[in-house]
Symmetry: C3
């Protein structure tokens, strides 16, 4: 027997949109938290209510929302990805190195784009949620993310 409760809907005008390019220098495989950068974008444009969008312009890096408390979680997630998309699978496409094809498989399994609701100027993430860029390649890369907002800005 499932139980659900829903709050009354808060309806407001839809007025503005904004875009910004976020460049992130990664240092090899792993997670780079960008939650603070997303919030800085919302603050710059004086976002009130709406939808925050994040898009990764690469096929060998992903976006994910994960627990922001224990660093061991990130280590285990990388181990899981090594299990799911191993290097030594005998991939046909290997001209760009043994880490390239596993990177494409990981972008198939993880997210290239995120959409996050915004209320009263804040991303409505849960208490334990952080937003991360996930580098799949062995070497450091400069990654481009497109941030977007659709909604209403506060009066200034």
């Amino acid at each position: 027997m499932t139980r659900t409760r829903r709050s009354p809907a808060l309806t407001v005008p839809l007025e503005i949109q904004a875009q910004s390019l976020l460049e992130v220098d990664t240092s090899g495989p792993g997670f780079t938290e960008i939650t603070r950068e997303l919030q800085a974008f919302l603050t710059e444009i004086a976002a009130d209510q709406g939808l925050l969008t994040v898009f990764c312009r690469h096929t060998s890096a992903s976006l994910t929302i994960q627990e922001n408390a224990d660093p061991d979680v990130q280590r285990d997630l990388l181990m899981a990805l090594d299990d799911l998309a191993p290097r030594d699978r005998g991939w046909v496409h290997d001209t760009e190195g043994p880490d390239d094809m596993p990177a494409h498989v990981r972008t198939l399994l993880c997210d290239t784009a995120l959409t996050i609701p915004v209320l009263e100027g804040r991303a409505r993430l849960g208490t334990w949620q952080g937003v991360y860029l996930l580098e799949h390649r062995d070497r450091p890369h400069r990654r481009e993310l497109v941030l977007g907002f659709l909604g209403r800005a506060r009066r200034r």
Copy 2:
């Protein structure tokens, strides 16, 4: 040789947005259908055309759109997730129990957010598509989902 056909675009004004919090009590691992709750939200705000968004505020539960006909599908999907993110993998992060780290891996593989087009007040799901909250933890949890709509409302 690929063939595609596309209908003429239907362009209308973009006017309002709405948000609502949906709480769902889960009863342990498995699927809870929320399609009806999403449609009730669209009806409450008199949505016409636009985009419905759903966001899960947790790192150990996911959202997914799956077949709504045969309950065996859900049983098989849970078996697949047990294969892909097993309990006995020797995870480093295990202080919150043996079901915790597999839950994080499953949120990496499944969705935290959904975006669904709306036309004439209805979510444009396919015939066999239902929207589900997917609980990854062993024990029942109260889960918070943020529903959103960006678009146009019907005149009242």
Copy 3:
């Protein structure tokens, strides 16, 4: 030590939305690129800045953004999906054939919906990114995708 840089936000009015149905005839398992069809939709509605959305109305086909250069990548990705969601797993749900339940697992792991930022009338994909419909069933199917745009149109 992580380094990030962010460009000043470009804020413009949010004015129109559009929807269009794209039908794609697939020829069995594999990737059908739809990047050109998406751009044609943006051109038809004279999109300027905003968000492009794509939604797949099926539980046995997915959407993905992948490398558009080397066809071997697609072959390897299909091999990876065969590893992750094998036919001979002993699925309970098998009335629709041995390719049906693996197809549902693959839609759980891959995307049903995409959101892509648009600037100056172009989808802001990376250099190597193409958008693909990914057929999971053995037989050819006619698939329905709902395209959407939320944003601003150019003056005409």
